[in-house]
């Protein structure tokens, strides 16, 4: 599903360069649940952003569903994102003036799905995360756990091949974190690959495989 070959990425900081990823090789198979771990500054978020086509890389090759993605323009990247990828963020990133169901339906809007159909589908996905009764509520009326479940429903609705989650439990207490992880697991069982960036080892342990990053390189522990 995802193949990374010798990915390098550096940022310009004034006159000098900060080399963040120093040659990452990885292979995430279809239906795998992988955790990326590392201390802050290890490059895990950068890696996730590259995986999510939110950021470019300098050298190497990245195959998403056997398509080489490199130096994409924004329109193409947006198309690929909406076709293959679903995002879950630490701070949920729901649109504050849209209701739960509208938030979930949003990716379908950008795919051009008719309003009636996408709202019906959004309700279905809300039901899957157990929040059907909250469909008409605004994000500000929901708890952190509920928000994250809505974000997951939003990530799922476009029927992606891969879910990319950036510290999805970072803003949640332990009990809710475990609930959210259960949802990820059940998603994974349906054959969707899940990549979770985290620095909590108990969360990482729930995944099939852990990729450890240190100073821009994958290390084996």
């Amino acid at each position: 599903m995802i193949i990374l070959k010798n990915i390098n990425k550096s940022y310009d900081i004034g006159d000098s360069k900060l080399h963040v990823l120093k040659g990452i090789d990885a292979h995430i198979k279809q239906g795998e649940m992988v955790a990326i771990m590392g201390s802050s500054g290890s490059g895990k978020s950068t890696l996730l952003n590259i995986l999510g086509l939110l950021d470019n890389y300098d050298n190497g090759e990245y195959y998403l569903n056997d398509i080489l993605v490199k130096d994409l323009n924004e329109t193409k990247a947006a198309k690929l994102r909406s076709k293959f990828l679903g995002f879950v963020f630490q701070s949920f990133n729901l649109i504050s003036f849209k209701t739960a169901v509208e938030n979930v339906a949003l990716p379908l809007y950008y795919q051009g799905v008719k309003r009636k159909k996408r709202n019906a589908l959004a309700l279905e996905y809300l039901e899957k995360v157990g929040l059907k009764d909250w469909a008409k509520h605004l994000p500000s009326e929901l708890s952190g756990g509920q928000k994250q479940r809505i974000a997951i429903a939003r990530a799922l609705i476009s029927n992606p091949k891969v879910i990319l989650a950036d510290e999805p439990t970072g803003a949640l207490d332990t009990t809710t974190s475990y609930e959210v992880m259960q949802i990820f697991k059940s998603i994974n069982k349906q054959g969707i690959s899940v990549v979770i960036v985290t620095h909590e080892s108990d969360i990482a342990q729930m995944c099939d495989r852990v990729i450890n990053l240190k100073d821009g390189l994958i290390i084996n522990i």
């Binding site: 939110l54 950021d55 950008y110």
Partner: protein
């Protein structure tokens, strides 16, 4: 294209800061409002003045005789010049560019109330006219008819009276036709009542009694003297050309020194009319410059506000792009927003402006009294349509820079924005 979601989003984003939105709306609508008020007033002024002309032939001129200021051919200076009946034929035959030539004369004397009918008396101007004069300064006939050629040739003692004269000399709704008026001691039969169309061209014609030109000359002992000439030029011939030729010819006929500018008086209606048209063109240009300027200020305001909105919503735009929004959909959303706010504000200003102009028009038209230089301010429909098009286009321009700014931020940076 635009759909319910676009509209909902625009509504939500505009409602996030109501005061700011209201001020932006005010900026644009004030611009349009001012433009409309100015256009309406300009038009009102123009209508008022052109209506004052009525159907007055604008390709006309007047020429009258005065006193010489230079000695010539043995005549001393200070000699009184009088036009005579011979001049009519002489001018007509020698100047091809003349279309209508209407000699006029005014009866003087008879101090005070010169028109008498039983117990009713009044002081009016007594004019002698040819039927042709009605083609230069047409009047509206209320009863009967105007002077005709038969009146001229038969020296009929008939008269046509203005509506004020009728009002004073006759009872309301009384039939004036066939009745007699004693004018400077001579009885004349009324054959027509008229209402002037033009306003204040030298005199108030509602208070005029018109006699056949020849009758007036004869009855009041003017011999063959003519008071003055009203002349129109043929089509496509400038009045100034005719004026020059008429003056030269009259100077020859009456032994006036060619350089004696003071012996003949005159008035070129076309020149005056053109000058006035020029003033209105100037006013119009000024109105548009100021109006467009005000509008532009409003539109720049919209652009500014959109920039702020984009900046505020950077994160939201980042989220949308992460979940599949293409740059194009982000750009169109922002441009829609700018266009909607501009067009909405514009229509608001347009409606308010149209209301005010209509209100003024209503009071001007129904307020009674003579409004003089101001009449029927109006805005035509095509201006409104043009305004909407201009607004939409300026909305697109207003949204363009902020929209470009929105997509120039990489989604990852947008997401990081806190």
């Amino acid at each position: 294209m635009i759909d319910l979601d676009n509209i909902k989003e625009i509504y939500a984003s505009l409602m996030q800061n109501k005061l700011r939105t209201a001020l932006t709306v005010f900026g644009v609508s004030w611009g349009v409002f001012m433009l409309l008020i100015m256009l309406g007033s300009g038009k009102g002024l123009e209508n008022g003045v052109t209506q004052g002309f009525g159907d007055f032939a604008t390709n006309s001129m007047f020429v009258w005789s005065k006193r010489t200021s230079m000695p010539y051919k043995g005549f001393p200076r200070g000699r009184n010049i009088n036009f005579t009946n011979r001049d009519i034929a002489a001018l007509k035959s020698s100047i091809q560019e003349i279309d209508i030539i209407a000699p006029k004369i005014q009866a003087y004397g008879g101090e005070g109330n010169n028109v008498i009918r039983g117990k009713e008396v009044g002081a009016f101007s007594i004019n002698g006219d040819y039927p042709d004069y009605n083609r230069i300064d047409p009047v509206k006939i209320l009863q009967g008819r105007f002077i005709n050629n038969k009146d001229i040739t038969d020296l009929r003692k008939v008269c046509v009276i203005g509506d004020r004269v009728y009002k004073i000399m006759f009872k309301p709704n009384e039939n004036a036709i066939g009745k007699y008026l004693k004018i400077n001691g001579v009885y004349f039969k009324v054959v027509g009542v008229f209402k002037p169309k033009s306003k204040d061209m030298g005199e108030d014609k509602s208070e005029v009694v018109i006699l056949p030109f020849t009758t007036l000359q004869k009855v009041y002992n003017y011999g063959d003297i003519i008071g003055y000439f009203a002349i129109t030029a043929k089509q496509n011939i400038p009045v100034s050309v005719v004026e020059q030729k008429v003056r030269t010819r009259l100077a020859e006929l009456h032994s006036i020194h060619p350089d004696d500018k003071l012996a003949l008086g005159g008035f070129n209606v076309e020149k005056q009319f053109k000058q006035m048209k020029g003033i209105f063109t100037g006013i119009n240009i000024l109105v548009w410059i100021v109006g467009i300027g005000t509008l532009l200020a409003g539109v720049i305001g919209v652009s500014n506000i959109m920039l702020v909105i984009v900046k505020e919503r950077t994160k939201e735009i980042g989220i949308k792009r992460a979940i599949g929004a293409s740059p194009k959909s982000v750009i169109t959303q922002i441009i829609y927003e700018a266009v909607i706010i501009t067009v909405f504000s514009g229509l608001l200003g347009l409606t308010a402006g149209a209301w005010v102009v209509e209100l003024v028009a209503y009071f001007v038209n129904n307020g009674g009294g003579d409004t003089g230089m101001f009449s029927n301010p109006e805005i035509n429909f095509s201006v409104a349509i043009k305004a909407i098009i201009v607004l939409s286009v300026s909305g697109i321009f207003a949204g363009f820079v902020p929209a470009k700014r929105a997509v120039s931020v990489k989604p990852i940076d947008a997401l990081r924005d806190e």
